[in-house]
Amino acid sequence: MNLTVNGREHEITSAPLTPLLHVLREELEITSPKAGCQQGGCGTCTVLVDGEPRRSCLTAVATVDGASITTLEGLGEAESLSPVQAAFHAHYAAQCGFCTPGMVVAATALLERVGGPVEREDILDALGGHYCRCTGYVKIVDAVMAASRGAA
């Protein structure tokens, strides 16, 4: 099996039914997708599969053989944050940070899909499957609204 992860191609040796999450974290040592509930319920393992957000804990690696995967590592660098990352930073949208990879990946896909300013309701719909136990969501929603308007 093969995966292109953040632009780099990898041959995968994990068994076909291995969750994509474990392939990323343990075989490829890409650790931004977090192993949270591992039942699809918390959202922090979310990655982009061919541009669309999916739960890596619910996705058997064989079912995405040949796909292009984007994780948080593929969105920006510490010196050049992506617009969503910069907005999360500016709006204090991360506290412990455990949910942040999934939030940022899903919010990035929302902004790509809409291509312009998004409203609160769009964000609640897009991030409805992502749990944060620290922030109360207010700053996360603020950050995504700001990023969609070109502001950090």
Binding site: T13, P16, L17, T18, G40, P53, C57, A60, A62, G129
Partner: protein, 276 residues
């Protein structure tokens, strides 16, 4: 065996090895090959979207030895253009929502969240084993109300039957190929009760269709399987639904609560149809 990965690819190196992850994977590339590999379904775990099975496998609670993985099987054809809507078993809930706008869509939009709906399939929703903390199979109610038919294969060959008959039959011995229903021409009604929580299954789902005086009512969420409320269809009395369904208690609601809410939701659905 055709479709199976060579053994060199089923060996993991530095990844964790939990029981079933190392199952022999059969990956058919056509519906015919899927049917042939399924055979009579003996000693085989059918893997569709994985939203229910993969957590069980990863946690070591389910240890399949052979997995029939359907993602390349071509069972994902979706035809919504004609008078009969045809939905392949591997159509995801997300693509169903994108392609349809009817009674089924209203319930599909309530399934989990956007990301999970990109994995979850219609066939998997019909074949889900009963849940432990809550009930499953939220699409059962609208499919029953729409008079949907399930085409499946397995022992004795292909079979097409009403969804309510499929649900009460031996599902583990059948491979769902597709689901079809006539485009609704009459009035439809939906009533849902659920927690405000993206991943909550329904507490009570009621769907109803009325076509030329013919009423069909489906109920899901109240017990392990969706049920056709035949008593209500005949009497039009919402309270009769409790002779069709025996609500259960789970983590979401008590049986007592469901017994009180179910007739209320049936009444509202019938009111929507103007036939109460």
């Amino acid at each position: 065996m055709r479709g199976a990965y060579p053994s060199c690819l089923t060996k993991s190196t530095n990844t964790r090895r939990i029981g079933g992850m190392a199952a022999e994977a059969l990956i058919p590339t056509s519906p015919e090959e899927a049917a042939s590999l399924f055979g009579e379904g003996e000693n085989l775990t059918v893997f569709a979207g994985g939203t229910i099975l993969l957590p069980e496998i990863a946690a070591g609670r389910l240890k399949p030895t052979r997995a029939l993985m359907l993602h390349r099987s071509g069972l994902d054809a979706l035809d919504t253009a004609g008078a009969v809507i045809r939905i392949g078993a591997m159509v995801t809930i997300a693509s169903l929502i994108d392609a349809t706008d009817d009674l089924l869509t209203r319930f599909a939009e309530q399934v989990a969240d956007r990301e999970v709906r990109r994995n979850a399939t219609v066939g998997g929703n019909l074949c889900a084993s009963p849940g432990i903390g809550s009930q499953r199979g939220d699409l059962g109610a609208p499919l029953i109300a729409l008079g949907a038919r399930v085409r499946s294969t397995g022992k004795g060959g292909d079979r097409t039957e009403p969804v309510e008959d499929f649900l009460t039959g031996d599902r583990s011995g059948r491979l769902v190929l597709s689901i079809e229903y006539d485009r609704p021409t009459g009035r439809t009604a939906s009533e849902m009760m659920r927690r405000r929580h993206a991943h909550s299954y329904a507490i009570v789902n009621v769907a109803a269709c009325q076509t030329n005086g013919d009423l069909r009512v489906g109920v899901s969420g109240v017990g392990p399987l969706a049920v056709r409320a035949r008593s209500v269809e005949q009497s039009r009395n919402p309270d009769d639904v409790l002779s069709d369904v025996d609500p259960v208690s789970d983590a979401l609601a008590s049986a007592d609560y469901r017994r009180k809410m179910l007739p209320l939701l049936v009444r509202r659905a019938l009111d929507q149809l103007g036939s109460a």
